[in-house]
C-alpha cells in the first residue's frame, strides 16, 4: 500500500482512525455525563 512494506503500513495506518474513534467515544461519554448533570441541577428560580 502506497509503496510501503506491509509491516510499516499495518503498524501506521490505523492510528488516525483509532484517534478519531476515541475522540468520538469520549465526546459521546462526556455529553452523556453533562446531560445527566444538567438533569440533576435545579433550574433557575427553583430551590
Amino acid at each position: 500500500m502506497f509503496g510501503l512494506p506491509m509491516e510499516t503500513f499495518y503498524w501506521f495506518a490505523p492510528w488516525p482512525v483509532f484517534w478519531m474513534g476515541l475522540a468520538l467515544v469520549m465526546y459521546v461519554k462526556l455529553k452523556r455525563e453533562d446531560e445527566q448533570e444538567e438533569r440533576s441541577l435545579p433550574r433557575e428560580g427553583e430551590d
Binding site: G3, F12, W19
Partner: protein, 521 residues
C-alpha cells in the same frame, strides 16, 4: 522588501494589534491577565492547546528526524495525533472544576493548594521554571533560524526581532492575547503545512512515488525501525516515543493551564473533537515534508532546515511566505505560552506566595509583565550564545516536565488519598530519573526510552509516598469528590460562575483597599 517579508510583516502587525486590544482587559484583574477571566470557548481552547503544544519542533526537530530516520519518525507523529484527546479526556473537566473550587490561577498554585503544601508549590515552581526555560530556549533558537532563512538577516538580529514581537504582545496582552494569537497561528500552521505538503507530494508524483524514491536511496527508510534498522526490536524505545507525546501533554504546565481557563467544564467535550480533527490534519504533514526532503534535498547540511530549504528551493514566492509564517506561528504560539507560564509561576507562585502576599491585582499584573520581559531577555541571551539542536532541547525539556507532573496532576483529580509526600516523591523521582537516564545514556543499556524510566519511577514515588504522608484534609477530599461529580448550583451560575463572581471579587478588593487608605494608622 521581498514578498515573503511583506506577508510576514503584516502577520506580525496583526499579532501586535491583538496584544494591544487584549491589554485593556488584561489590566482589569489578575484572573483576567493570567487566565483570560476563564472565558475561553471550545474551539479556541482546542486551537490554543494545539498551537501551544505544536512548537518549533514540528517544523524543525520532527522533519529533521524524518530526514535522518525515514518512516520511523512517524511513531512520534502518531502519538502526537492523539495527545490532546487523552489530555482533555483525562484532565479537562475535573481539573477545570477543581482549580476553580481551590481558587488556583496557575498550574503550580493548583498543585500547592491541592496537596496543601508550600513545599510542593516550591518544588513544582523550580522544576517548571528550569525546564520551561530549556523549552523556551529551543523555541527562540527555532525562531532565529526561521527568521534568518526568511529575511537573510544574521542570526542574532533575527532572533531579537522574532522574540521581541512575542514578548511585546505577551507582556501587554496577557493570557487572552496569547490564546487569541495561538488560535490564529494554529489556523495558519495547518493551512501552511498541509498546502505545502500537498504541493510537495504532487511535485514528486504522490505518496507512492515518494516511497519508491526512498526505496531507491535506502530501503530501510521505509522501515518502522529507522534507517539501517537502528532501533530494530527495541520496543521500549518505540513505546517511549509513543507515550512521550500521547500522555506527555498532561505534564506540561503551559498546556494544562488551558483546562483551567475553559469557559465551563462542558467546554471539554467539544474541545476534544476540535483538537482531534486539527491534529489529524496537521501532525503528519511536517514529517512527510522531512521524507520529501530526503529525495529533493539529498545534500542538506543542517537537517533542521529541511522545511525552510524546501520552501525556498522548490516553492518560492507566496508558498514560501505562507510556510515560513507557519513555522514562525508554531514557534511563537509555543513561546508566548511558555513565557506567560514562566511569568505566572514567578509572579504568582514565587513573588506573591513567598515575597509579597498582600500584593494587589495591579501590582501583580505589573510584576507578571516585568517577569515575562525578564525571562524573554534571558532567553534571547542564552539562545544567542550557543544554538544547540532544537530537537534535543525540546525532547529533553518536554520529557522532564512530563515525568515530573503527569502523575501529580492525574492523581490530584482521581485520588482523594494522594498526598503531599506522594506528590513530592513523584515530581522529584520523575525529574531526576529522566535527567540521569538521558545523561548516562541508560537507553542504550536497557533499550527503554528515558520517558518510560521517569514515568515508572514517578508512579512508584506517588504510590510509596502516599503510604508515608498524612491523608489530605477532609476539605480537600470533599473538593476532589465534588470535582468528580459536578456542582449542585443553577445552570446559569454553573456556566458563568467566574465571569459573574469576578466583578464582585474586584469590588470587595477595592472596598478593602479604600478602607485601609482612610483608616488612621
Amino acid at each position: 522588501m521581498n514578498l515573503e517579508l511583506c506577508i510576514f510583516t503584516v502577520y506580525l502587525v496583526v499579532l501586535l494589534m491583538i496584544g494591544y486590544l487584549s491589554s485593556k482587559r488584561a489590566s482589569q484583574s489578575v484572573d483576567d491577565f493570567l487566565l483570560g477571566g476563564r472565558s475561553v470557548g471550545p474551539a479556541v481552547t482546542a486551537m490554543t492547546m494545539q498551537g501551544t503544544y505544536m512548537s518549533g519542533y514540528m517544523f524543525m526537530g520532527g522533519p529533521a528526524l524524518a530526514y535522518q530516520q525515514g518512516w520511523y519518525a512517524l511513531w512520534y507523529a502518531f502519538s502526537d495525533a492523539g495527545g490532546s484527546i487523552v489530555n482533555i479526556s483525562v484532565l479537562g473537566k475535573r481539573m477545570r472544576r477543581l482549580s476553580e473550587r481551590l481558587g488556583a490561577l496557575s498550574p503550580v498554585e493548583y498543585l500547592g493548594k491541592r496537596y496543601e503544601s508550600s513545599l510542593v508549590q516550591l518544588i513544582a515552581s523550580i522544576i517548571s521554571i528550569v525546564f520551561i526555560s530549556v523549552y523556551v530556549f529551543a523555541q527562540f533558537i527555532a525562531a532565529g533560524k526561521a527568521l534568518t532563512s526568511l529575511t537573510g538577516m544574521p542570526y542574532v538580529p533575527a532572533l531579537t526581532v522574532g522574540v521581541g514581537v512575542i514578548v511585546l504582545y505577551t507582556v501587554f496582552g496577557g493570557y487572552l492575547a496569547v490564546v487569541w494569537t495561538d488560535f490564529i497561528q494554529a489556523i495558519i500552521m495547518v493551512l501552511g503545512v498541509v498546502g505545502i505538503t500537498a504541493v510537495a507530494l504532487v511535485h514528486l508524483g504522490g505518496l507512492t512515488e515518494l516511497n519508491h524514491a526512498l526505496t531507491r536511496i535506502d530501503p530501510t527508510y521505509l522501515s518502522i525501525w529507522g534507517k539501517d534498522l537502528a532501533y530494530q526490536g527495541q520496543w521500549g524505545v518505540v513505546l517511549g516515543a509513543v507515550l512521550i507525546y500521547s500522555i506527555g501533554y498532561m505534564g506540561l504546565p503551559h498546556v494544562v493551564v488551558r483546562h483551567m481557563s475553559m469557559q465551563s467544564p462542558k467546554t471539554a467535550r467539544t474541545a476534544i473533537l476540535w483538537s482531534a480533527s486539527w491534529n489529524q490534519l496537521f501532525v503528519f504533514a511536517p514529517y512527510l515534508l522531512g521524507l520529501c526532503g530526503i529525495v529533493l534535498l539529498p545534500n542538506l547540511s543542517d537537517p533542521e532546515m529541511v522545511i525552510p530549504e524546501l520552501a525556498y528551493t522548490f516553492f518560492p514566492g507566496v508558498f514560501a511566505a505562507i510556510l515560513l509564517s507557519a513555522v514562525m506561528a508554531a514557534v511563537m504560539s509555543t513561546s508566548d505560552s511558555l513565557l506567560m507560564q514562566a511569568g505566572t509561576i514567578l509572579s504568582r507562585d514565587i513573588y506573591q506566595r513567598f515575597i509579597d502576599p498582600k500584593a494587589d491585582h495591579r501590582r501583580m499584573v505589573w510584576v507578571s509583565r516585568l517577569l515575562i520581559l525578564f525571562v524573554g531577555v534571558v532567553g534571547v541571551a542564552v539562545a544567542a550564545f550557543e544554538p544547540p539542536s532544537v530537537f534535543q532541547l525540546v525532547i529533553f525539556g518536554f520529557g522532564v516536565l512530563g515525568n515530573s507532573f503527569i502523575v501529580p496532576y492525574v492523581a490530584s483529580v482521581y485520588s482523594t488519598k494522594a498526598n503531599r509526600v506522594g506528590a513530592i516523591a513523584a515530581m522529584v523521582s520523575g525529574a531526576v530519573t529522566h535527567i540521569l537516564w538521558t545523561e548516562w545514556n541508560f537507553e542504550a543499556v536497557t533499550g527503554l526510552h528515558p520517558f518510560i524510566g521517569g514515568l515508572v519511577m514517578s508512579i512508584l514515588g506517588m504510590l510509596i509516598g502516599n503510604f508515608f504522608g498524612k491523608v489530605p484534609s477532609q476539605k480537600i477530599q470533599q473538593e476532589v469528590e465534588g470535582a468528580k461529580k459536578g456542582r449542585n448550583i443553577s445552570r446559569d451560575l454553573d456556566r458563568h460562575a467566574s465571569r459573574e463572581l469576578a466583578p464582585e471579587a474586584r469590588n470587595i478588593e477595592l472596598h478593602f483597599r479604600s478602607s485601609s487608605e482612610v483608616r488612621p494608622t
